[in-house]
């Protein structure tokens, strides 16, 4: 009989990945609430599609799509993650203590993703409501076509930030190598100060609201404009 305080340890050196993910999926119907996954050794698709309020700790570096499509679970990775960590996250949270590769939290619809290190290119690409806090820097083409949610960057942002952005709020403390099409610096209003303060606190980030600049959409690409047909 397991209780809520027990931690279910799964060793990926001896357990097939499919078995782990199946157990996590079946576990929504009952069983352990706390999971610890050891020896991931860069495996892809660790803890994808979890749909239960689990606490999952992964010890070591993981491969692609870690905790993708996550719903309700709180996942912590003690290490680096590969391409597409938390892609299409729905809710819950993912905390990465190392660096994240490309397309972190891509298309995410909700929840919170925290990266203690750097995130590479295309962080938050096409994000649709997820909140992302990167304590280091992010790579080029981040928040491309970002639709809603918030992206906080305590370090610097790479080239073409927020290209073709819709309504995501982007906050950057450091430098921005270049802004993408239709992305501009915007006023940090009281609403944004509150949102940014809340996210910095939630992520445990050592940064002050006043140090950030906000970027968002100039809203010039929103609608098809027949007068500009030649430019599309």
């Amino acid at each position: 009989m397991t209780t809520a305080t027990d931690v279910e340890v799964v060793d990926l050196a001896t357990t097939p990945l499919r078995e782990l993910n199946q157990r996590l999926h079946d576990g929504a119907a009952g069983g352990p609430l706390r999971w610890r996954i050891i020896n991931p050794n860069g495996a892809h698709a660790v803890a994808v599609g979890v749909d239960a309020p689990f606490e999952i700790e992964i010890d070591g570096h993981t491969g692609y799509y870690t905790a993708g499509m996550n719903k309700h679970a709180h996942v912590r990775v003690n290490g680096n993650v590969g391409v597409g960590c938390g892609e299409n996250i729905m809710s819950g949270s993912i905390h990465i203590t190392g660096n994240a590769s490309q397309a972190c939290a891509a298309t995410g619809r909700g929840g919170l993703v925290i990266v203690d290190g750097d995130a590479a290119a295309r962080c938050g690409i096409s994000m649709k409501g997820v909140e992302i806090v990167v304590k280091g820097s992010i790579g080029h083409m981040s928040a491309f076509m970002a639709q809603s949610g918030a992206l906080v960057v305590c370090g610097d942002a790479g080239d073409s930030l927020g290209d073709s952005i819709y309504e995501t709020h982007i906050y950057v403390r450091g430098s921005v190598e270049g802004l993408g099409a239709d992305c501009i610096e915007k006023e940090l209003k009281e609403f944004h100060r509150e949102e940014l303060g809340r996210l910095l606190t939630a992520a445990g980030a050592d940064a002050k609201v006043d140090e950030f600049k906000r970027y968002g959409s100039a809203r010039r690409l929103y609608n098809f404009n027949i007068d500009h047909a030649g430019e599309y």
């Binding site: 860069g42 892809h44 491969g63 680096n80 590769s101 790579g139």
Partner: protein
Amino acid sequence: MCGIVGLFAKNPEVEANLGALLAPMLFEMSDRGPDSAGVAFYREPVAAGHTKLTLQHDDLNFDWSALRKGIKEKFGANKGIERRANHAVIVAHADAAPVEAWIEERYPDVKIMSAGEAIEIYKEVGRPEAFIETFDIKSLNGTHALGHTRMATESKVTTAGSHPFSTGLDLCLVHNGSLSNHNGLRRMLRREGIRFQTLNDTEVAAGYMMWRQREGDTLTEMMDNAFEDLDGFYTFLIGTRDGFSVVRDPIACKPAVLAETDEWVAMSSEYRSIATLPGAENAKTWEPAPATVYSWEKEAVR
């Protein structure tokens, strides 16, 4: 898709076990490239005035001793033939060009995989695990090595179309990605006198690098030119006599991970290859930035 791995030894122990350490890295990239596999090892450099050649013949029972006898009579050969499956390494007491011309004239079926002081290239179609076994990759030592697993997209699965590609003396290239302007570039390079064996896009990139080096480019100048002229997406791993360089295209389409400890430097398409190395969990691990050349070189080799 394709997978790339590279390993650079920082101490004699890693040098002695280079093949045993590279083989599991290559195996991990089997899913990314099940069609063919290949490696370039830099090992046991020959004395000044000598050239080491890696040769290949489709027939496993090809009579290498006759070829060696001919080379010995013409140029002087100071070592026996070292055979590895259908490849053979031979050392001639001469510059590379006359030996290569001699082989091409007399043995048109023999393919020259590499030439130089230290480089040896082995490559073959089939699953990477079979390649590792057949060529006994684990027994190889060396200062540094590059490996590739291929998922063919734009040209035939053949030995000649496998990676690494030789790009000149002690130089080679492995590639993950695809080039879109390789047909035009191949025509241009043929006019410049560069020869091609296949319709493969990476062979064009290798030929391009050969051409730029012939024109006197340094590695940095060559890559600056390549960023302009090569249209497509790529992560390249470039092997030189004393080390290797990693470079990604300007929008970093293709994956790459680098890791470094006091014992080694490793590059791979994915972290799971690097995870097979001792000390990987505490290595400094990062993703290389786009359009940036990362290089490691042995200083005390020469």
